[in-house]
Symmetry: C2
Subunit: 63 residues, 2 copies
């Protein structure tokens, strides 16, 4: 499967925010909802810094 | 593999912009570079409207 883990970067560290996301949809200025196959959707604030599909990794940076 | 096709949406139509992207990196305000496994990277202008990893589909919307 092609889920990606979503990380949030702050102070040069990348912290796992959401495991195995399947869908990311913008819901406002620098605000997104992340959906997974299981579990509740979660809102994240920040800018996308990297989408790495081979690495299964999406990185947001806090404003 | 987990490449996604990148579409650009304008006037309610989604047009294929880049086939089998593996990496998308912001390079400016609403500007991104798309990389694939093969072929040249390409710059795209617009806002991300949808990241659908299961559907292998990333949609941008023109400003």
């Amino acid at each position: 499967m092609c889920e990606s883990n979503v990380f949030i970067k702050s102070e040069e560290k990348e912290v796992l925010f959401y495991k195995e996301a399947v869908k990311i949809i913008p819901v406002g200025e620098d605000e997104f909802v992340i959906e997974g196959l299981l579990g509740e959707p979660q809102k994240i604030s920040g800018k996308i810094k990297e989408i790495n599909l081979i690495g299964h990794k999406i990185v947001f940076e806090k404003k």
